[in-house]
């Protein structure tokens, strides 16, 4: 299976249009200008591909840290579980009005 870091950076580049040279393990969503809406979309895409429940990425984490966390979740055997994003992840991207 494609390593999670590679999958995540591929989506950030191809789907969200982040320039590839900015995609380094120490980059953060904030620095890449991936806002809360895009983060929820990214989580939706990752959950769909990995068949795992991810929830909201920790604020300020780097791409390397987020990928490592997802690898741990996958390894922990949540594979096949019904993907279920926590309500607060959606709320953070929700319209303000």
């Amino acid at each position: 299976m494609e390593p999670v870091y590679d999958l995540m950076t591929r989506l950030l580049s191809e789907y969200f249009g982040v320039p590839e040279e900015q995609l380094t393990p120490d980059a953060t969503f904030e620095r890449l200008d991936i806002d809360s809406l895009a983060q929820v979309e990214l989580v939706t895409l990752l959950e769909d591909r990995l068949k795992v429940t991810l929830g909201e990425p920790p604020a300020g984490a780097t791409l390397g840290e987020i990928a490592a966390r997802i690898e741990r979740l996958v390894a922990a055997g949540t594979v096949g579980a019904q993907p279920q994003a926590p309500a607060d992840a959606v709320a953070s991207a929700g319209p303000a009005r």
Binding site: E14, F16, T44, E47, P83, Q84
Partner: protein, 407 residues
Amino acid sequence: MSEREVAVTGIGMVTPPGLGREATWDGLCAGEGLGAFDEDLAGLPVDFSCRVPGFDGNALLGRRITWRNDRFIHLAMVAAREAVADAALDPAVWDAPRVAIVIGTASNGGDRWPQEYRNLDEGRVEAISPTALLRSLPNMVAGEVSKDLRALGPCLTTSTACASGATAVGTARDLLRAGACDIAIAGGTDSARVPMGSAAFYRMQALSRRCHDPAGASRPFDADRDGFVLSEGAAMLILERPLHARARGARVRGYLSGYGASSDGYHATRPDPEGAGARRAVEAALADARAELAEVHHVNAHGTSTPLNDEVEAAMLSAVFRTPPPVTSLKGVIGHSLGAAGAVDAACTVLSLERQLIPPTANLDRLDDGMDLDVVTKIARRHRMEGALSNSFGFGGQNAVLFFRAA
């Protein structure tokens, strides 16, 4: 030119003939129907449409923007950027709170809805994209164009079915007249050539079923017409009060002198058989412009190629004008782009006045019995024009007519 009028200082278009105002104009003047088999509609009873060939919003706008919105928004953004550039305006320095956005859309399209309904049906609610609504809601096209161009004044979407684009232009004119803005970006957009669009309009018996001859399917005013052809596109106009345009030395392509809106109040889909609603809109537009019938030298017709619309529109024109001036319908070439159509028609009416040239109505081989119209066919016609009408009539009996004068 009076201060009741507004100047058209920029035009941008994305239509089946191609990307940009001039590609659109050249394609319209070529007069060939652009209906063709559409692989997205394969297997449906009506499997053809007029599409914008090779339109790639991602390449033109960048995934940074396009990942979160549907094709009708991409089309509008590209057309709006072209219109702003054509008007020699710079969003980096303009007085942003004084720039309005009014965009008409009839159906948007809902590119992603089939996929999201499948997710819902399968109980996969968490797989539904958080962008499902914001990528497809009609208001979002105005919101996204506003963000893209940093236009921070009044910002709204108009929805009057096939008249939406014309209603947007008229509404923007009213905002300018009321002093609510100094510049308005107004137009229309739609991309309904999606499977459900074709299936639903087919069920409504609105579409041409000429699958053996898609290029000849859209034939406004022709005796053998049998419905409209689904199309897509966007057109945007930059409107300013003449004083504002003059003060910044803007090139004026034409003047919007009159706007008339009305409702048939008759039937959900069929036009009033007497054309009374359409006629009221024409007369209101001319009264608004304080123009006489004799000042109308050309009519850019709604002319959808449906049996009923064209019959009623032709009879209405003959009733209003003793001898109607030369008429054309752009839909023979580009099909019916629904919410964009009124804006494409408005933009091309301005270009006709500017260039003193009327694009032909494609596929008109035999004018239907009982129609007494001078329809321009086969080749573009040179014609002296100072004023021209642009007609738009929507399902639901919603009508919008614009009267333009040459600059």
